[in-house]
Symmetry: C2
């Protein structure tokens, strides 16, 4: 059975936070293998010719209310970050410079920092405090994310997502089929069970 699912994520997306929390629950009860694939959502939107919800008045208002409603129904602790829309560039580059064991903690702590704790991670002090909590070498981290190879790598991964017909977040790919939106996780599970 092919139980592999690529999960395309960017910390700046509230629905992707919800998907991440759901994935953690799903993993407890299934052997589905979610592979986390970082990308820069802003760059992806540009490639796809999409205006982000944040910049469409009514859609933004709906999204805020909808995320609160959906997370409540799913029993997920959620707060819509006051600083939205968020620039996640450094955070996303950060996913490419950490070792596996640290990366898992990093993903958890920064999704939660944005979408539960309402933190302003553009404040360097707050960002560093969180990195410190999980034991990241801060000087090395900030040096590494300025590395040209890392900058290029994130661009490549974003381009690769687009090439695979991804246009938003969260997105999933199972057996070359694209699923968009946390609502579609149920379908991913259905298709794997078939």
């Amino acid at each position: 059975m092919n139980n592999k699912v690529d999960f395309f994520y960017d910390f700046s997306s509230p629905y992707t936070f919800i998907a991440h929390k759901r994935i953690k629950e799903i993993k407890k009860n299934t052997n589905i293998d979610f592979l986390y694939k970082p990308m820069l959502l802003g760059g992806l939107h540009k490639l796809a010719g999409i205006t982000a919800n944040a910049f469409i008045g009514h859609k933004n208002d709906f999204m805020i209310q909808d995320c609160i409603m959906v997370s409540k129904k799913l029993g997920i602790n959620f707060y819509f970050n006051d600083k939205f829309p968020i620039n996640s560039l450094y955070l996303m580059r950060g996913t490419l410079v950490l070792e596996e064991n640290l990366l898992e903690k990093y993903i958890d702590i920064f999704f939660e920092s944005y979408w539960q704790l309402n933190l302003d991670l553009s404040d360097r002090k707050i960002f560093e405090k969180k990195l410190n909590e999980i034991g990241v070498d801060i000087d090395k981290f900030f040096k590494d994310i300025e590395n040209q190879a890392i900058k290029d790598k994130l661009k490549e991964m974003t381009n690769e997502a687009f090439t695979k017909k991804i246009f938003g977040a969260p997105s999933f790919i199972h057996k070359d089929k694209v699923y968009w939106g946390q609502d579609r996780l149920d379908y991913v599970i259905d298709d794997i069970s078939k």
Copy 2:
């Protein structure tokens, strides 16, 4: 108990067809009162600053596959119309010139014409044949939909939807709260049951 739900629709939207079919099922098992509110989706998108899915390559490809997947799961007979994107102007004006008993048949037959029978309703002969099937006076119909008051009325209803913070289709309003997408029908029902 307030069991009233405004349902904002345009025949050109495949997800709205799915919502319409679900509403018909929901009405069998509940006393929810769905009030059908026609609008012109193209006009609404313009007001909201939204590019329709049809014009965003990857999103359009996803939507076609997603509509097929979702309707299959829901047990709804569905075919993605080959002529999409569709100009629904005459059809939507038509909803404003018919009497109640005919309107219900009209809504059913034209949602099905597009999204089950794959008809090209821009072909006047096919359009007239369908109108004939439900007993619409064809000469009167085509005269009435050119009436300036009817043209204005559809614009007004589209503007009104926008004023109520609607930006896409299908949308629902229950107690002044906007729900967007057929996926959100479950939440509408939840909120009414509370």
